[in-house]
Every structure is written in C-alpha cells, then in structure tokens.
C-alpha cells in the first residue's frame, strides 16, 4: 500500500499538542467549562468538558501542563457541577445527575433550549472517571478530586432515563419530557450503557443493553463483515475511554469479533467508500477520507450549478448512504489511529499535504470540502475549531502512543462492572 509517506512522530506530537491547546484557550477557569467551539458566543458543551477532563492527564504526562494546574482546573470543573442547579427547571444546569447539553460559559445555566443529554453526560462522567484514576496522589487537592468524581457519578440516575422502557432515552426537556429520538442501531452509546450498568447507585438492568444490541446490523459491506454505523465517530468515541481489544459481549462472541477490530474494519469501509466516491467529489480517494459528524458549508453559495447537490451544516455524515456533500472531517483519520495505524497515518499525512488549510493555528478545523473552493483558491474549511474534535484527537493519539486512557479506565471498577454486566468477557476482563 504505502509508497505514500507516513507521518513522523514529531508531527503527530505537534498535532496532539495543538489539539490540547484548544482546552487551554477555550476554558473558563472559574468553573472549568469549555466552549463547544472557538466561535464567538459559543456556549459550553458538557461533552467537550468530558474530553477535557481526560485530556488533562495526557497533558501532565507529556509535560504540557503542570500537575497542580491540571488538578486545579479539574477541581474547578467538578465543584461547579457538584454545586450546579439540578432542579430540572428550564434555566437550571441539570436534573437527576444529568446535565443540559449546552450551558452558558459564565453562569452554567442551560442555553439554546438544549436537551438534557444522556450521552454527553456520560462523556462528562467518563472524563471525570479517567481523571480520577490518574490523579491518585494523597494531596488534599487530589483527594478532593477523587471524592468529587464519586459524588458526580453516584448522583446520576441512569434508571430514571430508562423511563420504564427497555432502553435508555437519549434526551429530555422540561418543556416536553423525554425526547423521541430513534435510539436503534449501533452508536457511540456503548460508553453510556457501560456507565449506566456500572453505577453503584442507580444501575440499569442488563436486559436494557440486550434490547439495544438486538437492533444491531451485522453487514458484509465492501468485502468486510462489520457492525454497521454510517458516521466514523460512532466507531471512535467510546473507544477514547474503553479498550475493547479482546473483550467480547454476547453479540461479538457470536460474530467472533470485537469492537476494536470492528472499528478497524469500519475505517477500511470509509476508505473503500472514498475510493468509489459515488458522487464524484473532489479529493476523495483511498488516502483521503473521513465522513463523520462535523461542520459543513451549508451557508455557502446559492451559486451551485447542480441543484441536486445539497450542502449541510453540522451533520453526521456517513458511509455508504450519506449524507455526503463532499465534506470530510480531517481529524477523523487520526481518531482511527489505534485501530488502523498505517492507513490512518497515511491518510492524515496525505490530507495535510493536499489541504494544509485544514489546520488553523496548527489545529484541525472541523472539516474541509475540497469540492468547494474558497476565495483564495484553497478548499472550503470550517471556521474556528470544535472542541469534540480536539478531544478525540488528544485521546486517541495518546491511546495509540501509550494507551494511557485505556490503562486508566481498565482499572476503574465501575467500568469493569459495567462491562461485565453488559456481558463482556475475555481479554483483559
């Protein structure tokens, strides 16, 4: 495969460090909240905060931040959430231990009429748990840090989110109750289920997980047997925390596979799709791919020759059925590093060479669309930076290099319990 150059360690380090730099720039030190994007007036996203909490240990390990500084930031964050308004009112911060998806950066109150988000709350808790496993010193600060992690995790009422049904609802609003999302099918929610099953205080029943996996689709696509989901981030997010190598739930035992290998295959499928490039977009080939949840050029041009080519804004683009408007998440390849290092590094390197405008301030923008040219002739690029992208880059590059987050979470008793109750066996379990 590779007459194409791969990426050197120094470049990788630079990219990882620049990604981490987002969390330093986008934070409100008073409460630890991190902005969803670098755009003006962006609210905080609790999912991004979760990634930040796990990124701090990486920064300390790599010497980008002092231990004390990291502990302080995490304490500020955890204290804020502990003391936040949990009344579930439209202006509160959360309810039943969960939090609204988007919060005001300063007051922490809900904004955008956003939903109480179970999945993003799970990312927040996962981030906190990872931090708790890293900062194990017997200093006052780190003792309190670990205590706060426990408080926040124990407070989450996962059972309530089941709402008497067999699966976990993904959203709730005070104005209308539980939202009617379609929860079917494989998604990034494994981490949500693991945390919900591992809860020492409000665990869900394990048949809840079975009910969800019963909606899985195991497909032979482009020559690969894969647990199918369109957007690449689905195959990555839970893996930022959980090492799925060698551990298998009932579904994976039946298929003689595991979620790690599955993510490798899903990455290959992305590549196959780009090779085919059915819509004929510019730039797509086996070294240039990555359909995932990312920003898009929807507010661009009415000036399109072909009205059939619709453009989307922030959307979960997916393979092979789309939506695909020619927009790729440049960071998506790096986030697949642990599963498919050769092709991921090759793609990351190639895309950076072809579209250097993909980085701004040395950091990945959310997306690039080579089919649409910008004013100066380069590809269209999303403005600013998105926190989720930066977080997954920091964590996945680290897992590839040292398995740090995986090691931390493998030792977390709640994660072990959750995985066991979900039916995972074997491997490091």
């Amino acid at each position: 495969m590779s007459s194409e150059p791969s990426m050197d360690d120094q470049t990788l380090d630079q990219l990882q460090r620049a990604a981490f730099g987002y969390f330093v720039q986008a934070v409100n030190p008073a409460n630890g909240l991190i902005a969803d994007t670098s755009r003006e007036n962006s609210p905080a996203s609790i999912g991004v905060v979760g990634f930040a909490l796990s990124a701090y240990p990486v920064a300390v390990e790599r010497g980008w931040m002092t231990r004390e500084d990291a502990v302080e930031r995490i304490l500020a964050t955890l204290r804020f959430f502990r003391d936040s308004d949990q009344s579930g009112s439209p202006e509160a911060t959360g309810f039943k231990g969960f939090y609204y998806h988007f919060l005001d950066m300063h007051t922490g109150a809900r904004v955008w009429r956003s939903e109480l988000s179970m999945i993003d709350s799970a990312l927040l808790i996962a981030g906190a748990l990872a931090a708790g496993r890293y900062f194990t010193a017997i200093t006052a600060g780190e003792l309190q840090l670990r205590e706060l992690v426990e408080v926040l995790y124990r407070r989450v009422d996962w059972r309530w989110a089941q709402h008497g049904g067999t699966t976990i609802n993904h959203g709730w609003k005070p104005e209308s109750g539980f939202l009617h999302y379609c929860w079917d099918g494989y998604s990034e929610a494994i981490v949500l289920y693991v945390l919900a099953l591992g809860s020492p205080t409000h665990p869900i029943e394990s048949d809840c997980y079975q009910a969800w996996t019963a909606t899985y689709q195991w497909e032979h696509l482009y020559g690969y047997d894969v647990l199918y989901a369109g957007p690449l981030f689905v195959h990555q997010f839970s893996h930022a925390w959980i090492d799925f190598r060698g551990i298998r739930d009932r579904f994976m035992r039946e298929k003689r596979c595991d979620y790690f290998e599955n993510s490798r295959r899903a990455t290959e499928v992305q590549r196959e799709y780009a090779r085919r490039n059915p819509h004929g977009f510019a730039g797509y080939d086996e070294h240039c791919w990555g359909l995932t949840a990312c920003d898009g050029p929807s507010n661009q041009l009415a000036e399109l020759a072909n009205e059939r080519r619709r453009l989307f804004g922030y959307a979960a683009r997916g393979v092979p059925y789309g939506p695909d408007d020619g927009t790729l998440g440049g960071w998506a390849a790096l986030a697949s590093l642990p599963f498919a290092p050769e092709i991921a590094l090759c793609a990351a390197r190639t895309m950076l060479q072809r579209y250097p405008e993909m980085l701004s301030a040395q950091r990945y923008t959310s997306s690039v669309n080579p089919t649409l040219a910008s004013a100066d002739g380069g590809a269209w690029v999303s403005a600013g930076h998105f926190g989720l992208d930066q977080g997954v880059v920091v964590m996945m590059v680290e897992n590839y290099r040292t398995q740090l987050i995986w090691r931390l979470m493998r030792d977390c008793p709640y994660v072990r319990t959750g995985l066991r109750r979900a039916g995972f066996r074997g491997g490091w379990l």
């Binding site: 689709q217 619709r310 059925y321």
Partner: protein, 508 residues
Amino acid sequence: MPPPPSDPESTAPPDAHERERLGNVHPSGWRNPQPADRYRLVVVGAGTAGLVAAHAAAALGAKVALIERHLLGGDCLNVGCVPSKAIIRTSRLYAEMRDAEQYGARVPADIRVEFPALMQRMRGIRARISRADSVRRLTAAGVDVFFGQACFTGPDALTVDGAHLRFKKALIATGARPDTPSIPGLVEAGCLTNENVFDLTELPRRLLVIGGGPLGCELAQAFRRFGAQTIIAQRWPLFLPREERDAAQLLSDAFARDGIEVRLNTRAVNVRVEGGQKLVDLVSDDYKSTVAVDAILTGTGRVPNVEGLNLEAAGVEYDTRAGIRVDDFLRTSNRRIYAAGDVCLEHKFTHTADASARIVVQNALFLGRRRLSALTIPWCTYTDPEIAHVGLYVRQARERDIPVKTFTIPMHDVDRAIADDEEAGFVKIHVKEGTDRILGATIVARHAGEMINELTLAMVAGIGLRTLARVIHAYPTQAEAIKKAADAYNRTRLTPTIQALLRRWLTW
C-alpha cells in the same frame, strides 16, 4: 356505523372514462338476480379478495354469489393501487424532466404540470383495468352478483337488498377503510383520504400530508412532483416505521431532494379554517408551529369494515381494530365462514388479499389445509426510490435468536445503476449465519418492486445464495446487485485455509 360510501354517481369528473368504469363496477339500473336455493359459496365484498375467490370458485364449478355494497374492484382498482401508480408514473416523468441536465439532456425551461390531463390519464387507465373486474365478466362466469349491504341472519344465511341467501360456505372480504385521526377540527376543515384524493380536479397549492406510512409517502412525493408545496408530518422518528432504518433514511433524503418539507417526530394537534385556508398546529417535542395549507391528506392506517354485517348473528368473532378473527386456515369462529383480505389480515396488500382468497377457495370448498403462515409475502412502497421487502427483518431474526448476517450491495456499486443515474439505494440480503439460507431481504432502488420478486422466488423455492451465485444475470441490469450479494457470500466461503490449499494446487 361507518361513514356512508360516496354515492357512485358523484365521484370524479363524469367523463367517458368514468362512465365506462362505473358501467363495469356498479352499473346504474342493475337488477339483483333471483337468489338460488342455496349457494356453495357466498362472497361478501368484491374487492381483490372477493373477486379472486368468486372467479376461482365459479371456474371450478361452484355456485357462487358475490355481494358488493359499493364498487366492484374495491380499493385497489378504484381508490388504491391502480390510480396511485398511474399518477406516480406521471410524477416520475416530471421529476426526470426537472433533473434532465444531470442526464446530459435539455428540456424546455418552463415545465408546466397539467393536473387535469394527468388525472384524466389515470381515469383512462382505471377504466381499462376495470374491464377485468366487470359485472359482465362475473355473470358470464356464472357468478350471481348482488349489489347492496349484506347482513347475516344466522350461521348459514344472510340478506341483501331484501333477498335471502343461504350458503354452504361464506367468505367475508369486506376490506378496510381509512382511519381518520381524531384531530380536533380535522373533519370540519375537510380532509382528503385515498377515497377522495383521486377525484381532485385541481392541484392543491399547498398540501399537508399527515402520516408517514406507504400511502402518505407515495402521495406526498407525487404531489410534490406535480408542484404542490408539500409538508409531510410523521409522528415517529422515521418514515415507514416497519422498514429498516437505512431504507427510511434514504427515503427521507429523497424527499428532501424533491423539496418536500419533512417533519419527523411531529404530530398535528389542531386544525382550523381561517381566511379560506386550513391552519394546522404541529408539535414536535417542545417545538410548536402552525402551517397554512390548502388541503390536508391523511394516511394514518386502515380499519377493517366489520360494521353493519350483523356478524354476531353468524357467530363470527371480530375486533373493531384488528378485524375478523381467523385461524391460520383463514376460518372464522363459525366453521362455515372464512375471511380474506384487508378485513382480517395485518398485511393489507392486494397480492396478500389475492393469495388469501385462493387459500380460502381451497380450504372452504375442497377440504384444503393451506395455511396463511406458509405464505412468503413481499411488499413494496412505490416511492422514488422504491422500497421493497420480503421475509424477516434483521431485528425480527435477532428477536428470535437466529444468528443473522446481511450481505449489502450499495447500488453505486452496480454498473447499470450508475449508467441510469439511479444509484440511491441498496440490496440487502439477510442469511442465517453459517448457511446460505435467505431469511429475508430489503431492496431500495428505482425498480425495487421488480427486483424483490427474484428474492421471493428464491425463498419460496428454497434457493440459497450459493445457488443464486450460479444464476447468470443479464448484464447490465440493476438486478445484478442480487448476484453481487450472492458472489460476496461465495467469497466468504473462501476461508484462509481453503485459499492456502487452492494456492498450493495452482502452483503445483
């Protein structure tokens, strides 16, 4: 009591086509015959199931009476499949004209839709197809046709229009009617259902379709393509709730391309009329909005026609929502009486009605033991792309603990689909893992309805993917996607061990 059926004389523009159709399906001035002493089979309802049963039984020599209170041919011919497919064909033409550039073709700049013309074409097609269902053909076949409301008087007798009919066996095939949702103000504001939408003479400028099942989806797309500003409100998160997710997603995308305003997770909660337009309040979780439209079309399910028959007198058990209770042999709680078609089946399709009617003829007249559950039933939603299915869905297989694997071929991997510019879609064939046995399949493609027939055939004939891979498919066709799935299955049989052995052989 159900709402009275529309007066046969007042449907649609009374043109030559309508006169021909009505002359076939409910001629004015028809005189019911003198009833025979006793009928071997009395069929109540002359839709697809009733007609198939009546013709089949008469052809085999039985003395048959057929009773219809409205129009022969039932829903399918008059207000269902036939008219909808006719207008769908025209709507597809307009869509292609608008997309002409993508095919490298030029069309005149202003494409005007002549709604009256396309409806007239539909009426012509309907009239022509009504000839096969005509009363003359029935009487020529020896069937006594009675128009009127049937009413059971006992376990082996009924009346119709004052006449008393005795029967050895009876078949109830009274079909189903649209279930109008109970939305405040809807009835007063007036709404369209499949029963009157094909009588329209003018295209509504703005249309709200309530219901994202097959009917709502097909007609929303057709009317959008004719130029109506169309909104479709579906209460569930996806269209076609029975179908698999990816199919529903592709349909959603197709609707968006057509310019239909798609409102999923949305319920209509109130309708009022103001200033000559209909205002409908829509709610989606915490998002509320009001839309102004000129017409509302509902496609929110069907309820069986079980009222007015005095089924109690015949000892036939029924449920107002689920219909007449039948066993797997389609027999009701009265051993002399059977049921078929929409009045008793969950799968309300013309071809299922047909198949169930044939089962009834065998079982009722010839001591047959043919079972409904033995049928392999495909179905298709005729949107663009079409969505067709047969057999089990993956979730059904997993619920039954059957290990299932799906072979997926996206249509963009099929040469003919690329050449046709009809790439949105896929063929998915579900097999029992470790075998080549086909459990089911879903096809999303321009011609999914045609393509699914090959897979239904394979399942009925017990043909697996291994055999399908040996079947030469003409190239280039879109159905080749099926062969590709079969070939993919064959490649998975090439395990590393076998590959190694083959390599040793070839280098020897």
